[in-house]
Subunit: 510 residues, 2 copies
């Protein structure tokens, strides 16, 4: 990244101290976390209020920061309901902090256009909101954070949330919330937990209000100031998919088989292994091959970490995994597991991945199997923009898991359509190459030169191990040299590494 860009960034009020990325573990924190607001609720106080009245009660004003979680994913109705009500009040210039933004948030566009929201702090952006960002129409560049980085920013006070609106599938009248019960059950509320802990005011928005204390509490009443009852917080079909199953795509199966073999040959598949498999088809299929090997050898995993899908929670139920630490659930089976399996634990984004704690769960990983939209010959990974530089994804937990894991495997097809996915330089660096150990593609496997230990083991196997340059040449041969995409020259997004440094920027699209 051009150094001049940091100078521009540092001129933006509030961002004077932002620093350039210096290495995955180069920045050491100092000082103290933000002090949370002290509350006092006397016995008998009724927390349930209508949305309009809550907006008055929390004294929402121009320029404040509001926050939301994204566990309702593409079914979320809460952001649009709340922002619409705010817009009706004529409040302007808000910063929208969301743990991520899905396509359903296209519905927020009018409130960007009318100036209700003028800044964004999120993990990902897509669709019309992505376009709005890349038309450079925000007042300042959007910030894209990792899940762990967002928790860090909240805890450090860097991201100060005035009002957190927490979509609550079930909420009792005292303010206890869970995500595992109710018609809009979404599973773990891990990504809402830092907001609930640190926001000045916390508002639960629920379509599952009950009058007796919950049997299962994700976010406790001690953190919730108000409760708003609405008819629906989400569209179930968009919240959780059915079970994510093993891929049937032949190329993906080849890749996932390679991944499983890398894990096996690298000696990682030993009793007590701790792993994260992402939610994509390749990762889940790789988990399937690993499970087969576990069946054969009798080896058991000590823990699974990260987003949970039904395939993994079935492994948990069947004893292949000892315990599961889960900030997010992808399907109904995983949600049920979280509710009913006592070895399946809900953890916050901070516990999961915040680099500045006395250690996040990602640090336990022996191996993380992650996806990518693009990779490059320096092992850098892009999961935020596509080959044309357009916002389509989110850092999510990718940089966090990659930094935490002893071995990080990034698996992707070498080509998608006619486009090469291994490039000289990715459009956007989200996960730094120094934290990526192995690239697995359908055409070959490349090992980061800094992991000579892995190279020496794996090159003796039947796996198609080659240098990353060889793999890159293969991609070029198959797809031709990638055309240089034409981007704008205005910075409209900052890609923040988990420690708060700026690892790359997103440009406008002309």
């Amino acid at each position: 990244m051009d150094k001049g860009i940091m100078e521009l960034i540092n001129k933006i009020p509030g961002w004077e101290n932002k620093m350039l990325y210096q290495g995955a573990f180069a920045v050491k924190p100092f000082g103290r976390m933000a002090g949370r607001p002290v509350k006092c609720v006397v016995p008998g106080k009724d927390k349930v209020l209508e949305l309009d009245k809550v907006l008055d009660a929390v004294e929402l004003k121009d320029g404040m920061t509001i926050s939301f979680h994204h566990a309702l994913r593409n079914g979320d109705l809460v952001m649009q309901k709340v922002v619409a009500a705010i817009s009706r009040k004529g409040i302007k210039d808000l910063t929208l902090s969301a743990s991520s933004l899905s396509l359903v948030q296209d519905a927020l566009l009018p409130y960007f256009e009318d100036g209700t929201i003028t800044a964004i702090d999120t993990s990902g952006a897509r669709g019309r909101i992505g376009e709005f960002i890349q038309k450079n129409k925000l007042k300042k560049p959007a910030i894209f954070r990792t899940h762990g980085g967002r928790a860090r920013a909240i805890e450090s006070g860097e991201l100060h949330i005035d009002v957190a609106f927490i979509a609550a599938p079930t909420c009792d009248k005292y303010g206890n919330i869970n995500g595992v019960q109710g018609k809009s059950a979404c599973g773990s509320l891990g990504y809402a937990m830092p907001d609930a802990e640190y926001a000045e005011q916390v508002v639960a928005v629920t379509d599952g209000l009950v009058s007796v204390p919950l049997e299962y509490v994700s976010i406790p009443q001690t953190q919730v100031d108000y409760i708003v009852e609405v008819e629906s917080i989400g569209d179930p079909s968009g919240i959780a998919t059915g079970s994510i199953r093993i891929s049937k795509n032949p190329a993906e199966l080849v890749i996932s088989k390679y991944v499983a073999e890398v894990i096996k040959y690298a000696g990682l598949l030993k009793e007590g292994i701790i792993f994260q498999f992402g939610s994509g088809g390749i990762a889940i299929s790789a988990a399937g091959f690993v499970q087969t090997e576990m069946q054969r050898t009798g080896i058991k995993a000590a823990a699974g970490i990260g987003g949970a899908s039904g395939f993994l929670t079935e492994m948990l139920a069947n004893g292949y995994i000892g315990t599961f630490f889960d900030p997010q659930d992808f399907d109904t089976k995983a949600i049920e597991s979280l509710y009913f399996n006592s070895r399946h634990h809900e953890i916050s984004a901070s516990a999961y991945a915040n680099p500045f704690s006395a250690n996040p769960y990602v640090n336990l990983l022996d191996v993380a199997v992650l996806s990518a939209t693009e990779v490059d010959i320096n092992f850098n990974v892009n999961v935020l923009t596509d080959s044309y530089g357009k916002l389509i994804g989110a850092p999510g937990g990718h940089p966090d898991a990659a930094a935490g894991a002893e071995v990080t495997i990034v698996a992707l097809p070498l080509l998608r359509g006619r486009l090469p996915m291994l490039l000289e330089k990715v459009q956007t660096v989200v996960t730094p190459g120094e934290t990526v150990d192995v690239l697995v593609t359908d055409y070959g496997i490349a090992i980061n030169p800094k992991r000579l230990d892995l190279y020496e083991i794996l090159q003796k196997t039947s796996l198609p191990v080659m240098t990353v340059e060889e793999l890159h040449q293969k991609a070029q041969k198959l797809a031709g040299v990638a055309e240089k995409t034409i981007l704008g020259d205005r910075v409209c997004g900052l890609v923040e590494y988990r420690d708060g440094t700026i690892i790359d920027v997103v440009y406008d699209l002309p």
Copy 2:
């Protein structure tokens, strides 16, 4: 309490702003909680160290504050092991902050005598440590806090803990702790949670170190800096008793039957009732009578709150109670319930009782049944000192539950031996009379005049309802006028109300 005493207290460095008690909900908090220290542990760091090396690593110095929890009760070996090691290093002038001190801590006396510890911050004190305090041998008065008040003090930064040593029945090598597994299982670690969250450094001391991530996590690895392995953290016979059973003492049975009838006639025993029954024989017996009534009527409690004993967790298991919020377990049956019953929740002292949160669980109570060492005609309760002014107990959660509950019932025998337990003025005010609604004794029931509503209902029943003055006269008639105890005139302890104000003091014993 004499106003001049506050002036003396305010002259002690650090206590300049301490205020006199002003009413149960008079003090409103402002400002923010303390900022917790930011940590950074990189993947692969080994947290396990020997105790001596940990004391170096945490840079323990003269004048610092060390903390411990009391969930191992009278079986605890951790305080003495740690303080002995500190003493061997010649470190002096420490403040000992414990969630409470049991008789077993008599073993700490040498370290008080040699100046290793010169100040105390606790819920209770007894035995030799109590005597040491009342010989006025500390550098400044001891502070006696409620469970909720201690959490408040920690969160507000008023009680700043430099190093928390957390007795950990089970701890994995990453620092995850639970109290439900291991040979020294003690149940809920609720009283250690604020320490783990806010201390500068957190050290787990465990006799149950395991190498795989725990299936059940009470205190997460994100908060634990070091782990010390020892042979034994406690003597199981002192940690948890067998099941606390229903009283067989006839006088206690009379009292507990009255308690149950007060609950019934006052209309509290309705579907969805939320209650706390203390751990004493009277309270448990009252729970037994209430359960019988629930069996008869089919009524179910929505929740139980507070310390758990086997009788209550059996009610939970059998569906008489919907869910249980538990900061502390008293017997092995309750510990097992916490481990295995998913409706039995471990909560922190702060969640349980801290008045300065967006509401503690005690606020949910319809009724709390509490004990007392003494009460007086203003309904004030003493649970800290005996009839002679000697330290024998602890505020514990008593003032917290009393403040939170819609109806607080204090149950005790009118006489103990030949001493009257209802006095003109208690030795030490721990729970203010304004938060106590009904006194139940074997000789009669008195209702706080501010609860005319309860009086009007209960005086129409067969219960022996009388004025508190009448009940007091009865006590005097039976026991004679209580002799005025001769106390010293030096303040050697402050009794802090849950909001941080000083509600009374403890005097030295000549």
